[in-house]
Amino acid sequence: MIRMEDVSLIYPNGVEALSGINLEIKKGEFIFIVGPTGCGKSSLLKLIYWEEMPSQGKVVVSGKDAGRLRAVQIPYLRRNIGVVFQDFKLLPKKTVWENVAFALEVTGASRATVYREVPRTLELVELSQKAKMYPDNLSWGEQQRVCVARALVNSPSILLADEPTGNLDPQASRKLVQLFLKVNRLGSTVVMATHNKNIVDPVRERVMGLKKGCLVSDMQKGQYPDEPEESEFLSS
């Protein structure tokens, strides 16, 4: 589903965000990308949704090689990837409903589809009551959930989340990860960047560690030394 071969990313200001990245993420996997702030987690995600192009190496997502991609293809490919941005990136002049609906409308979805999917997704993130509000009138946590709803409304084959629990309390964080796990079970590949150890450990999915732009660890699901029968995190 996602493959990187000897990838490096150097920004125009000369900062080397990633170097020598080799990884393969299979369809239907749930991956945590962990590491301290500034280690390159966001840059890695940006390569997956083509906001950045690799300075070197090969990035292949859903069979499409970034190096061979034409600019006009990118919008269509992005529709299969839901992204929960660290800074939300909500449209300030649109209501909660309109922000979520927009991700469907860009695909040319019918009115009926929009009116069916948007309420369902808002229900999922418990924001039905705030559908008519503008992002500025919502709390950080609520804005986060609007962003999640927008990422999910298209039923994407890949869900990327960049520090999605950064502004949430522990309970809300747990609920969000449970939601992502549910989405994963429904067939989406989920890649979540975080530095929150408390949500990574109980889930016991594959974890990749980044440090100073390099991939330093890759712990596969099932390789945990003290694997319990069932994670309490999931059942709580």
């Binding site: 949704y49 906001e51 919008p75 990136k89 909500l90 449209l91 002049k93 991700a103 860009v106």
Partner: protein, 301 residues
Amino acid sequence: MTCRKGNILMNLRSLNFFLHETATSLLRNGLMTMAVVSTVTVSLIIVGSSLLILTNIKALAKTLADQVEVAVYLREGVGESDRTLLQVNFLHLEGVKEVKFVSKEAALRRLEKDLGENLKEIIGLNPLPDSFQVKVEKAEEIKRIAEQIEGFKEVEEVVLSQEVASNLVKVGGVVERGTLVSLVLLGLVSLFLIMNAVRLSVFERREEIKIMQLVGATDWFIRWPFILEGIFEGLVGAALSGVILFLSYGFIVSQLQGFLPFLTLVDDKVMLLNLAGVLLILGMFLGMVGSLVAVGRYLED
């Protein structure tokens, strides 16, 4: 067939979406919309006023040119056949519009009518010579034509009957050219002002453009609502400027003609409607191009 039907449905759906997006965006960005509309209005009032001034100067120059003529007095004893030949020769001179013969009798009758006296009875003879009234196409060529006419041996004297008018026409020509240059400059300034206002309104929303790209919107999907907004703002601004010019021009013409009755101003409703049409097209075009250029810039970033 099904595919084409699907495309049409998709396009209609998109059109509906774009119109809805445009309307809500115009309302929600009300302050910016007002700023752009008022800039378009003011800029097009300037352009429209310049066009009206230019039209009037042209009309004035034409009126003056019509009054400019050369009076050609003939020597005593020029026969009828020579006179006819002269008239033909004058007509063949470059820039001559009309040549009219005034016999000495007709000239005397005209003078007597003007003075209200029977001059022939008082003087006992007709002192006036036969003459031609020569009208020219362009007032600025009158001197050259007069000099050419003076060269004919049958001609006694050439008088530029409306030298003052001729000078006025010359001044009019300079003013006309000056106005034209100012108009072009004002047009460019207005263009810049409108483009800048539209650019600023798009700049305000550059982050939105980025976000739309990130959630999978194609460039044209992002462009259309901005283009429609630009067209709408341009049209509303142009319509306002048209109404303001229409009303104020009528008022100014009636006031000026009260003070300066000899001044003939163009008071033609069709001309004003044509001007309004030009302003509407200009406003729409500038709004559209302004949006297109500004959005294009942020799409590339």
